[in-house]
């Protein structure tokens, strides 16, 4: 059974990699977010196929996809939708025009370029899976994910995500530079007159829903659950490394993400490897490094590795 699930995820990865070269880790972590019914923040330098990956994934999974390009002049109503005057049978009335957030998979590109006001428009959608416009609250279609991207450089005129908002992302996925071989393949694929194979749909809503349910029932040993919680608590009790530690939402995130990773890897139980592998993506946007750690030249990932050891 677990093998069958692994086959599905292998197939998804294969289809995405028809377009995107490499980035296995990023693809796997995006899938983990989808299985956990969570949102992901993709961070990496420009040109590392963040947007392309999310675009392609939306095609592979039969979900309604929309893209919001965040800019400083983006208004919340541009995200959530607004009331427009419509005229029907000679009668004028306000009618709600849903914004791009009304989709299953929303790509919020360069989210840190939007103003905090617009960023907060995503908050309710991400956490409550609903949008309030005026006096009305509209339920979003499930499954609903926000996959946001941001660049770590070129911070001029950007609005770093507030803590409350970044905590709502299950994972912060780091995109890495491709290897030399991968870069050769990228150059070859996109500079020659080669027609790229169109990725085919592998997963639909129903299947995805079933996999999400399976993720939740993935068995985990009590010892491992305790270990995951200890990791999160260690971020709060380690002033030499962290100024602010992670919230209990991180504990839930680690357990759930580890379960999803186990399912993707075709296992029928969570292992300590799953927890170790997923701890950094779950914690890195939820903690703030201490001055001492920064002075020592540690990155957030280094500090997390230290507490996992």
């Amino acid at each position: 059974m677990a093998r069958t699930h692994k086959d599905i995820f292998d197939q998804i990865t294969k289809e995405v990699q028809k377009v995107v070269v490499g980035q296995d880790e990023m693809i796997q972590q995006i899938l983990i977010s989808l299985l956990c019914d969570g949102n992901a923040l993709l961070e990496g330098y420009p040109g590392l196929a963040k947007t392309l990956t999310v675009n392609t994934l939306a095609k592979v999974i039969d979900l309604k996809f929309s893209r919001i390009q965040n800019t400083p002049d983006l208004m919340p109503s541009d995200v959530t939708g607004t009331y427009i005057i419509s005229e029907e049978k000679g009668r004028r009335e306000f009618k709600f025009q849903p914004g791009p957030i009304f989709a299953n998979m929303v790509l919020a590109d360069e989210i840190n370029r939007a103003t905090p006001k617009s960023q907060s428009a995503f908050l309710e959608a991400m956490q409550e899976k609903q949008v309030t416009v005026g006096n009305h609250t509209y339920k979003l279609d499930e499954p609903f994910f926000v996959l946001a991207t941001q660049n770590p450089i070129d911070q001029e005129g950007t609005y770093p995500l507030p803590e409350a908002q970044s905590d709502r992302f299950l994972l912060k996925i780091k995109t890495e530079y491709p290897t030399e071989e991968e870069e050769h393949e990228i150059v070859k694929r996109f500079t020659e007159n080669v027609k790229l194979a169109e990725p085919r749909k592998v997963l639909d809503k129903a299947k995805l829903k079933h996999l999400q349910e399976l993720t939740k029932v993935m068995p985990i040993a009590n010892d491992l659950r305790k270990a995951a919680i200890k990791i999160v608590i260690a971020t709060r009790n380690n002033p030499k490394l962290f100024m602010y530690g992670a919230s209990p939402r991180a504990s839930m995130g680690i357990i759930l993400a580890a379960k999803a990773r186990a399912l993707i890897n075709g296992k029928n139980h969570v292992s300590s490897d799953d927890i170790r592998a997923i701890a950094a993506p779950v914690l890195r946007h939820r903690v703030i490094l201490s001055f001492e750690a920064e002075r020592e030249g540690l990155t957030v990932d280094d500090a997390i590795k230290k507490i996992i050891r």
Binding site: M1, P219, I220, A221, L224, N268, H269, V270, S271
Partner: protein, 285 residues
Amino acid sequence: MGMLDIIKEIRNGVYKTLIIKAILNAAAIYLVSYFIFMLVMLPAVYISSFFAVSYFIYEIIVSTKKDPLLIVEEKYPEINEELRTVKDNLGKNNELMEELKKEVTSKVKKHVDIGDFLDFRKITSRVLILFFMSFLIILLALNIRLLGVDDIVDLSKDFMMDLGSKIVKDADEKIQVVLGDSELKNRFKKLATTVGVGGGDTESGEIFGESEIVNLGDNKVNIQIKPTEYELSIEDYQKPEQQNFISKSFKEDDVFLEKGYALEENIPLEKQDIVKRYFQELAKS
């Protein structure tokens, strides 16, 4: 057999092996401490029993602190974390759990053998210790002395002496063969003169001492130690010598008079005259 039964069986098996190990260790401690306390004449039974029981309890507490399933998982990496996961999620029924149960059951049947937890090397060494210590204790209890410390010292002394004399004799013979007896003697004489040592007459350069004394070794020597006389002879009696105590050698402080109160009697005044006369008459007669 259900998963619960398998887990119970594994647990019991591990506990049994832990108890066996603890018993063997405690027995070894008992015998070793019994032997030591027997040597120093302390109440060995009570003290060593105390040590052994304390150790047994300590080992049982320490070893049972660790989850037996964890011990099994450490031994068999094939079921690492799986056994504990099944145990912790036994009440849950879903397709993943069912699959995990089946997988773990087959792996346990295939790999796990409780006998693997008994380290036969360690057990053999413990049993040998037990035998050896029991043997020593029996010997000590029956006061059988196979080889005492004095015997060992004497034996080694004799051995060293024999070895030394043999080496000297061999060397002497070889030198005699090469140089001849007189040549050897002359050489030793020269050496002794140079160094200035040697027994006997060093002035003459003779390092072997007096030749007469050397020759004594061949003769039987009768040595009689003079016995001490304790008997008194009456013939040796002499009259005591008169001593004149009035001598100038006495100092004034050495001569003094003291009234003797011991003979003083408590005679009433009116009868003192009668007593006086009685003694005067007595003196006349």
